[in-house]
Symmetry: C2
Subunit: 236 residues, 2 copies
Amino acid sequence: MPRRIREQQIIDVAVQVFARRGYHPASVDEIAELAGISKPMVYLYLDSKEGLFLACLRREAERLVAAFQGAARDVRTPELRLWAGLSAFFAFVAEHRDSWVVLHRQASQLSETITAEVAQARRAVMAEVAGLVRDGIGEALGPVPVADEEADFVAHALVGAADSLTDWMERHPGESPERVTRRLMNMVWVGMRNVLAGEIWTPPAGSGPQGPEPAGRSGAPAAPAGPAGEGRSVRE
Amino acid sequence: MPRRIREQQIIDVAVQVFARRGYHPASVDEIAELAGISKPMVYLYLDSKEGLFLACLRREAERLVAAFQGAARDVRTPELRLWAGLSAFFAFVAEHRDSWVVLHRQASQLSETITAEVAQARRAVMAEVAGLVRDGIGEALGPVPVADEEADFVAHALVGAADSLTDWMERHPGESPERVTRRLMNMVWVGMRNVLAGEIWTPPAGSGPQGPEPAGRSGAPAAPAGPAGEGRSVRE
DNA sequence: TCGTAATCTTACTCACCAGTAAATTTACTT
DNA sequence: AAGTAAATTTACTGGTGAGTAAGATTACGA
């Protein structure tokens, strides 16, 4: 069995085990056994437990960012890019829950080097989102000096909300990533007060990106075509 | 040294250590030493490492909920209650960072019983927030059948956003909890589109609760009086 | 067929840490 | 002062798990 393939097999298993048990309770012995291989192989290929975890981290982070970027790419307006990106995020998390757990829910209790890496992965995602938000602000207001800090703030809030809604989705299996995204857009983009007043946001039909499917695995459907709508509509 | 006091001392130290190291890497030996006592004392009073962690969890959760409830109590409109609650949350997290880390950032990799407890604590917070949101929706729309699920959704998004903004605050030491809250309210309650259009939300002067300070420790100032404003204002 | 480089295993070592047994000291009551 | 209950310690055990040494097996080109 050639090295490249073995490595991926090991990482596949490791992501599952790290997600289920957490970093410290996960044992390299168990990972090796589930991968159908003996422990020294893991050390030969991935150096250490930490190295193994970092490999998991990097691969999954890459996949998530790719899914996010791929979905938002080629979408015209900032508003719809944000929608496409969030949609891809929810789809990714729904399909690869283990990836997300490893990626985000392991941050605090790990070693210096790992936290640094997690923080960097998180920053990468944050930067993507902040970019989309900044575009939106920029388009509406033109170049404004405080926009960077403001966009960063909004990005943090959005990513945090999306993360938490991951739990909500788990308890509402009927909900599709698209519906969740639409609700979030309503809440953030239109605002609760206006939603309560009857205003809603609906993605226009056929607004998905036209580019080819990007790197991210099977999942992460690019911005799916929601039900018909005018992009911005007001009810009542 | 009487038992009650020792227990609190131990828990004080344990919260710090658990927050810094995470559950598994934290050793009872270290906690005992930092608390200035020997290990068997910890086991005598708190039963086990898990018991110790649960004690930390319960105490900090109680404090946070108390701060939240205390701030929102006696505030008249749902809108301002939400503001007061969020404000108290940010103030609490800013002042007791360790509590928040133990409370929330340790969820996935722990034992069955602990995850259950964490989930319950989280649900308690979520229920508080959902209550405020439901009030808001109820006030605007009257009794609506779907309101419960909708409120739960919004609560998840809000709590997640608030959690993530915790990190943002850490990198922006100049920002006060009140300013962060105001920004979040703008984003969620008014909506980005309307914010971009020039609309902003400002809490009216002197709108804090009049009741006595509740259980929560020193921190968690009740809804602070923001700068003057009309509660809902439009710029430009 | 020989050699060599990769793949892979068995069988350890060593450190750390949760939990405990068995006292010992302190403080308070009668 | 005697007695007893609480507070507190020293000194262990047992298990687990990261990491490794040393060698076995396969693949394959010269």
